[in-house]
């Protein structure tokens, strides 16, 4: 679609007011707009309205929607298992020039099949903050976010304003693993894991899978099999046998091969997360 107007609001309020008008859509990193065309003739640039901040709050890490993927590092996010998972997910995302453009909000809102942040958000029990003019900020849990594409689930005037990660207590371990044909290609399999261990027993496990289905999913059967016992390699291998995700066809690789790779990648990711949670004592 032809772009007829490009607007630079200077505050979130002004941006939301502009987005409430018809035929208007947001632009941040610009990769989707440039490569696929604009969704509306009026574009609102949301990179100059203070959404590029990372805030460490009470038990929560808030990452602004305009933060670039390249800035999702432990230096900017601080040290926590949650920050580590986001940093690992972002570090392997696409190529350096794309990481310099891609924003948190864009990666969440566009929700392409191989997007990394939605997978990490799912494993971290995160919420996506959405705002629109004349309404209080809404928090949408990551599980709801991936259940239906946000483009269908949200009104057109809504803007993703932040990714909010609860910082959970306890002995936590995380890991983000992917499989792809080369170091910079889209993932064919991605797995995000977060586990919590108490007195040698796994008390919480979240295993999120990306790139294998149209939108990320949780491997709930695997999570259930992990909880309630020690995270030994034998128990992890057994839990992964519960994987029941139907892998979508992909022109690069048969579903059969990808299903096997998914199982191996999932097992390795859980193993690494477990070792991190227990300091290698598992």
């Amino acid at each position: 679609m032809r772009v007829t107007e490009y607007l630079y609001p200077e505050s979130l309020e002004a941006a939301l007011r502009l987005l409430a008008a018809p035929d208007t859509s947001p632009i941040a990193g610009g990769t989707v707009v440039s490569l696929e065309g604009a969704r509306a003739p009026r574009l609102v640039d949301i990179t100059r309205i203070g959404l590029d901040q990372v805030t460490l709050g009470q038990g929560e890490l808030l990452i602004g929607a305009a933060v670039r993927a390249a800035d999702l590092t432990l230096e900017t996010l601080g040290a926590s298992p949650e920050a580590m998972l986001i940093a690992e997910a972002a570090a392997g995302m696409a190529t350096t020039p794309l990481r310099n453009a891609i924003t948190v909000g864009g990666n969440l809102a566009y929700l392409c099949g191989w997007a990394d942040l939605p997978v990490a958000a799912l494993a971290l029990d995160a919420s996506i903050e959405v705002q629109q003019e004349g309404a209080a900020p809404q928090l949408r849990p990551a599980t709801a976010w991936v259940a239906q594409h946000p483009r269908a689930a949200l009104p057109k005037e809504a803007l993703v304003t932040a990714l909010r990660l609860p910082l959970k207590p306890g002995a936590r371990g995380v890991a983000y693993h992917r499989f792809r044909a080369s170091a910079t290609e889209n993932a064919l399999v991605s797995v995000a894991v977060a586990v919590t261990v108490a007195e040698g027993i796994c008390v919480e496990a979240r295993v999120a899978l990306g790139a294998v289905t149209p939108r990320p999913v949780r491997a709930e059967a695997v999570e259930a099999a992990l909880i309630g016992g020690p995270l030994t390699s034998a128990r992890i291998a057994q839990a992964v046998e519960a994987l029941d995700v139907r892998v979508s066809p992909n022109f690069r690789m048969s579903p059969k091969a990808r299903t096997r790779i998914l199982a191996a990648t999932t097992r390795r990711a859980i193993l690494e997360a477990s070792q991190r949670a227990t300091g290698g004592q598992a």
Partner: protein, 155 residues
């Protein structure tokens, strides 16, 4: 629309349609050092620096540069006075057909501006968006390493 920004150190004011890609804007204005390769954010031939960071100019609108700074290969150096990166890539035999080189140079400059003494891993990572079908990358990485050494000597 009118977009005002700093291009290779000089203030410019360009009037173009709001959906003009930065790549097209540059080339229409005669800055043809920035190459059009895949036009889909894969090959890296169009890499420029926006506000000091390497980006694909095929995946950006000119409007996004409003008030910012853009650096292209034209701002690096000239045949008579090459930038250390340009000199080093030639010395390392890292240039064959040359089509990818403007993008490689800008990605490398984006790295060296931030990190004057990068590890080989950091160089590889900085260049992971630039495809070269001639060299196999080894010479390019050697060239960037050489340039970094030379630039540290000059400081």
């Amino acid at each position: 629309m009118i977009v005002e920004f700093t291009l290779n150190g000089e203030a410019v004011r360009w009037e173009m349609p709001p959906d003009t890609k930065l790549l097209d804007a540059l080339r229409v204005q005669g800055l043809i050092g920035t190459k059009q390769g895949c036009r889909e954010a894969t090959c890296g031939a169009c890499t420029v620096l926006l506000n000091g960071r390497a980006v694909f100019s095929c995946a950006l609108l000119l409007a996004q540069a409003q008030g910012g700074t853009v650096e292209t290969v034209e701002g690096l150096g000239s045949v008579s006075d090459p930038h250390p990166l340009q000199r080093a890539l030639v010395d390392a035999s890292a240039v064959q057909c040359g089509f990818c080189i403007p993008g490689v140079l800008m990605s490398a400059k984006g790295l060296l501006d931030q990190d004057p003494n990068p590890s080989e891993g950091a160089i590889r990572r900085a260049l992971n968006g630039n495809l070269c079908r001639c060299t196999g990358y080894v010479k390019i990485i050697e060239g960037v390493t050489l340039a970094a050494e030379e630039m540290r000597r000059r400081v």
